[in-house]
Amino acid sequence: MNLPMLWIIPALPLAAVALNLLFGDRLGKRGTAFLACGAVGLAFAAAVRAVLTLAARSEEERQIVETAWTWFRVGDFSVDVSFLLDPLSAIMVLVVTGVGFLIHVYSTGYMAEDPSFRRFFLYLNLFMFAMLTLVLADNYLLMFVGWEGVGLCSYLLIGFWYEKQSATDAGKKAFIVNRIGDFGFLLGVMFLIAWTGSVNYERVFASAPHLFTAGGTIITLATLLMFVGATGKSAQIPLYVWLPDAMEGPTPVSALIHAATMVTAGVYMVVRSHVLFEMAPVTLEVIAIVGAATALMAATIGLVQNDIKRVLAYSTVSQLGYMFFACGVGAFGAGIFHVMTHAFFKALLFLGAGSVIYGMHHEQDMRKMGGLAGKMPVTHATMLIATIAIAGIPPFAGFWSKDEILAKAFATGHYGIFAAGLLGAVMTAFYMFRLYVLTFQGKPRFDENGGHAHAHAADAHGAHMTHDAHGHGAHDDHGHDHGHGGPVKESPWNMTVPLSVLAVLSVVGGWIGIGKPFIEGESWMGRWLEPVLGSGPHVHHLAVSTEFGLMGLSVAVAAFGIFMAFRAYLQSPSIATAMHERFGGLHRTLYHKYWVDEFYGAVAVNPVYQASMRLWRFWDEKVVDGIVNGVGYFLEGVSALLRLFQTGYVGTYALFITLGVLALFLHFLRS
């Protein structure tokens, strides 16, 4: 009996959801936090145990399939609820449970003052369940269950503060945009069902080479449709518009769902289906171009945003673009590697940003920050690590994965995409250090004694100002003045500890992917993934000198971006202002995100809205309501006639009975 019991990994968060629903009102905040974090922590432990079991096996046998039950059976077509652990899902499940656990712990601090504390963890655990189902499923339909589940939780959590109109709007937008993608994904899966008669990965991949001609129309169409699903979930052009708006949700949600885990589901799906995608070179080309275009476009928008979370959101979109163009050039392993490192440093960036926002009493505008380095030392240090990691400076995690992607793009001859990636890397380094400098360096641009520009906090100020007169040292005893002003200070331990853990991961997380030219042969990561991805078409071996050249180039561009950021925002802010004025039109275009939302509004949203309004007025109000009301009116008329007979006089009834009897009597007499 050496079964790792895969089902228990998603079941634990689900059990926590059930317990929270049933008994949450009696648990109190501590109990709820303990339950939620405990379930995810246990899921992480179970995942580690399962992965260790997997790793102990020989390379060919690294695949554990556990069938829980048959979901349904229609004729020859049957779908099982069964879980698959192989090297690919192992990475995903570790990242999801590991980062998820840290974010759960962090949330206990960040959400401590929220009145809907319990609901928050309910949704968060539900999300963990759906996400784990997604990555552990061994067929497309079960994956789709998780896929929709995470979409639902994303919607619920974006609109978590539902009393805010912008939050509910953002939630709806995310849900609807995702639906478009999901529709494509579902159609793709239906293609697979129609042609292969199965949704099980193993069977689909085994039969695909016999059923489809490589590069044929069917496989191209099917994979393109699946990619449409990926663009929705993973925020790629043209469906990326929901992700920046999703920042309306609480910051831990942005970290968990909209940076580390859910948005990488599309990448995971593509990598998981690499057998199919490799048979459709046209699709791969499309993916590479879309990925590169997204990486570039989002990076340009990120350059000029002022909301700390929005910068990170566009950065996420951009980094997801990198993952996709890695897949597009056939470097699926590099894509998953970047998913992993990105999960570490982007979760850290978001959590750090959350810590800043928490410390700044819900101020998100970077123009009103500055000089936080001394006030929030842990947040500052960890954020700096993450920023270096995403900028791509060795030996931090982001460097290894980004460099591998760029090298693979170069090696496969996608020079245009390589150039786009490089350009994106400059901008990444620039906007990330712009964020860092604006937030942590320079002089504070807010009232350091806790008076800050929020209108809603104005009434609370008076009390705190007098309190402040006692001196700053007296502050630690009254806990955190969440949202009420008070001087900026470091966040509590349950927020800084996850930050520190993620900071360590952001440094060392990339080392497992160190390959040529530093070591002989494949990197550890590459060898781990080999049973799933195969050794792949590694025909394009680069010379060692080229490898080093590429690395040097990517470090150089990163350094250039960092230098520019420091120069423009720390040393001489006049440069930034001058640039604003010089390229006013460009700046406006970027600031308004290329007016894509407005364009979609005019081309898609508004026409649909108008058409729906007309349909409502005609079809719903006239036809449907007409039929329903018509039935009512008809019955009313008939009963008005029948009512004439019901006089209430017994005599009348007796008369009718008599007449009836007479009629029967006559009838029988005549026959």
Binding site: R643, L644, F645, G648, Y649, G651
Partner: protein
């Protein structure tokens, strides 16, 4: 011997009197008595036929009818008494709450 037709004719006449009584009278008690009249008209027809057929079946039926009639009187009178207590009237055309 009295021909069967005569007995039947009498039965028919009694029955029609009963029907007309039910239809035209307003007093619940009188309506009740009219119903009894109809029942007994039927009894008379039973007996007449039983005699003509030389069979006891008809006569046995009469006993059943009388039993039913007795039960009906017991229930019916109870209803009428209660009705009177409630509404202080036994005139059926004043009891028309079920008018549609």
């Amino acid at each position: 011997m009295i021909p069967t037709e005569w007995a039947l004719a009498l039965s028919a006449v009694l029955f029609v009197i009963g029907v007309v009584g039910v239809l035209v009278r307003r007093n619940a008690l009188v309506i009740f008595m009219s119903i009894e009249l109809m029942l007994n008209a039927a009894n008379l027809a039973f007996v007449a036929f039983a005699r003509q057929q030389n069979s006891l079946d008809g006569q046995i039926f009469v006993f059943f009818v009388m039993t039913v009639a007795a039960a009906e009187v017991a229930v019916g009178l109870a209803i009428i008494v209660n009705l009177f207590r409630l509404r202080e009237t036994v005139f059926v055309d004043e009891i028309n709450l079920l008018k549609g």
